[in-house]
Symmetry: C2
């Protein structure tokens, strides 16, 4: 395929063909994932243009790799050789906020925090809050079924997507057809849940061009923050399991180990005390005296779980700094070298064991592993840090990465809680899911994208058993 | 097909071939939906037996119609000619309650209320509460993505299904293969959400033989009940819209019109005052003083919305009687004649208009329509009552039924909020969904059930445009 044919097929389109720019648009933030060489990129300015581009690509046999802000951590938005990178980040309009029905309709390029700000003006709240919320787009959040800190109490992206418009191909019409899926009511069972199927499908079934989202009323009061410091990280994990066993469901329950804390403190000087081996941060947003009781119960559970100290933060500046630290941990650690990022999820009772295994695996392979975690969900982010340019360390990290995935599977968990499979977790997913389930996924993919045009090789692509 | 071949293919199976019993097992509670003549029925005693039966049916070309308690209201479990009715109601074991992780694993025949009782012993709660909860099974709830009263705050069945085992065919393996879908962690994005796809698929993709469910901590206190009485039903609808606009989300917000109230009172003598044209019942379960404030705000919203009176019920017996009345409305009205049951769902702001149109449509066709509603969700149940044996009335009711579906679509809603498409809402769904979306559904069905063995003709079956 020559790029000229694509240019001719898309007259007037703002196609990027500069090699350097293409490299930048050809990968997400999964530094370890391989990226192919795109033929071109299109910064689409309308759904109509997405539609035309998909039709042209189908005609020419050019794979389509959709892309939002490129903040993904699994390589899901990485270019494949000869593809068109279809960048929808300029489709960034909040189309409608229907306050009466607590619904928002947005284009896929709207940044998560911008949506939050827009609906807040109407006294509403869009809960999903990945740490990338200041940069990541709703389209990307939908593609990976993004989670975040407050999923524990408020659920993940899928729980908020009522409907969408997508550019599809195959049975939905000729490639490039725009199809409306789902609805805008809170309940609805008219046919299969194709909306839910598209959420988390990482751009392999079509290109989402509009999303209809459910909202919640804004929370009236600032949440309380409860902090617990632990002398070892596994003890912190036991406190998490203890919390769940007591039926406590705070809005967020986060873990940072010493390594992550130190990286943030070295960078941002927030005044964190990095003497603890692990911190647990809980956010309690139940209003009134019930919230006070819940915060006290969380602190008590921390202490019973062996915390060196645990208290409710009475200083809002300090509380803010603690959650800031949590959100900054990833970029802070990135400063130390390329990160290989996990997002395994295990049943909450197995969190201590997963933390223990993480330590063991790190030691065995001589890999430095920092852990941050949405601990209350059992969703852990072991971050494998390697010195830049050290090939042996890189190989050791890769071996440790696969062992961590296997450990999560062995503990009854999954290889990916919220980042998606992309390229990095394909092998892990193949180990996690039985052959029958993978074959069913492949059948769905083949049925809805018979040309294999959309983001080929990602998620279920490249399965040697199929 | 002769039944003898099926009997020979399933040695030792407890096959039902008695014609009268087959008629009983060959339909659900949608009295108006057509039912075919089953070849036989199997009351399966194990997943293994389900697997063998599906394999034999695939071999012999006998359609499989799965069935739970038969409480469905859309004909989804109705027999088709020459089918095997596969009754899974004897698979009624709670396999595991994992209190630490707030997860239950159950067989599909477990009755909803029995599950609630079993998990309550562990201080846990399974929220979905269709009015059929004392009789309907989890398998049936999963098949229709059942809702209920407390969906407003706590979501529908899909929000609680983490994983399942299903007997499938086609790409998942030979027909009769048992496949595990999903996971048991609260988060997980390893591949397409096939679990969510199966929820609400009404047995058209396979037979669910085990379900892994998320649970919540039990609520500590009895919820408060707030009652408002209105002089006309549309005003009650306006009060509902007003409540949502204020950001109030009670645990339940139900509507009963005078017709429904009177039917319950005539039957059960609960001491209800049937002088109001409509009652709104709200259940507030926010604990502590915040709950007191919320209940007061709900009562105020009722009054501002034009309630003749509104108050928080301080008498728990009275409060219980009111919600009992809501749950008994359906059987109470069924005593008056065959019911044609709607479960349209519209955006909450359109509830008043939908109620207005319901009245107009009833008047125009001379059909008595009682309305009960999960009003807070915009999910209305107009119940069309016809005298037994009156053919003209029956035809009028059918015309009114289709007009109500069309009205819901025109108001931005859906033809089915929680009962499923089954047989009764196929035409409505065809009007609601664009052709592309229906074609995609059909492609998914064909991919996962290439023989068309599972519950043929239901949901997406019988679409003249495909």
């Amino acid at each position: 395929m020559s790029v000229e044919r694509l240019v001719r097929a898309l007259p007037g389109a703002d196609l990027v063909t500069d090699a350097d720019v293409l490299v930048g648009l050809g990968h997400d933030e999964a530094e370890w994932a391989p990226a192919g060489k795109a033929l071109a990129a299109l910064r689409a300015s309308s759904a109509e243009e997405v539609s035309r581009a998909v039709a042209a690509c189908a005609e020419l046999g050019v794979p389509v790799v959709p892309r939002g802000a490129g903040t993904g951590l699994s390589g899901g938005a990485n270019a494949v050789d000869g593809c068109l990178v279809l960048d929808v980040s300029r489709l960034d309009r909040v189309v409608e906020i229907d306050a009466e029905n607590m619904v928002a309709v947005v284009q896929p390029g709207v940044v998560n925090d911008d949506l939050k700000a827009a609906v807040a003006e109407h006294g509403l709240w869009y809960p999903p809050d990945p740490a990338s919320a200041p940069w990541s787009t709703i389209g990307g959040n939908v593609a990976t079924n993004a989670g975040g800190l407050c999923c524990l109490k408020y659920g993940v992206t899928r729980d908020y997507v009522l409907g969408m418009e997508a550019v599809v191909g195959g049975p939905g019409g000729a490639y490039g057809s725009r199809v409306r899926l789902g609805r805008r009511t809170t309940k609805g069972v008219a046919g299969y849940d194709l909306t839910g199927l598209f959420v988390g499908s990482e751009g392999t079934l079509g290109v989402v061009t509009e999303v209809t989202l459910r909202l919640r009323p804004a929370r009236r009061d600032a949440p309380r923050t409860v902090v617990g410091a632990f002398d070892d990280v596994v003890a912190a994990g036991r406190a998490v399991a203890g919390l769940t066993a007591r039926g406590l469901v705070p809005a967020a329950l986060e873990l940072l180990d010493r390594f992550a804390l130190a990286a943030v403190e070295d960078w941002k000087h927030l005044g964190l005390d990095p003497s603890a081996e692990a911190l647990l941060l809980a956010s309690v947003d139940t209003p009134g005296t019930s919230g006070d009781e819940e915060a006290a119960a969380v602190a008590a559970a921390f202490r019973d779980g062996g915390a060196a100290w645990a208290e409710q933060s009475t200083d809002p500046v300090e509380a803010e700094a603690l959650f800031q630290a949590r959100k900054l941990a990833y970029p802070a650690l990135e400063r130390l070298g390329p990160l290989l990022t996990e997002d395994v999820c295990v049943p909450r009772s197995r969190v201590p064991e997963m933390l223990e295994r993480t330590e063991r695996i790190g030691r065995r392979h001589g890999v430095r592993i920092a852990t941050i975690a949405h601990a209350g969900d059992g969703n852990l982010h072991p971050l494998l840090v390697t010195p830049p340019g050290d090939d042996a360390a890189r190989q050791a990290a890769q071996a440790a990465f696969e062992e961590l995935l296997t450990a999560a599977i062995e503990l009854g968990g999954t290889v990916t809680g919220e980042h998606g499979v992309g390229l990095l977790k394909r092998r892990g997913m193949q180990r996690e899911l039985p052959l029958g389930a993978r074959a069913m996924q492949k059948a769905v993919k083949d049925a809805l994208d018979p040309l294999g045009l959309f983001n080929p090789g990602k998620v279920i692509g490249d399965d040697p058993d199929l």
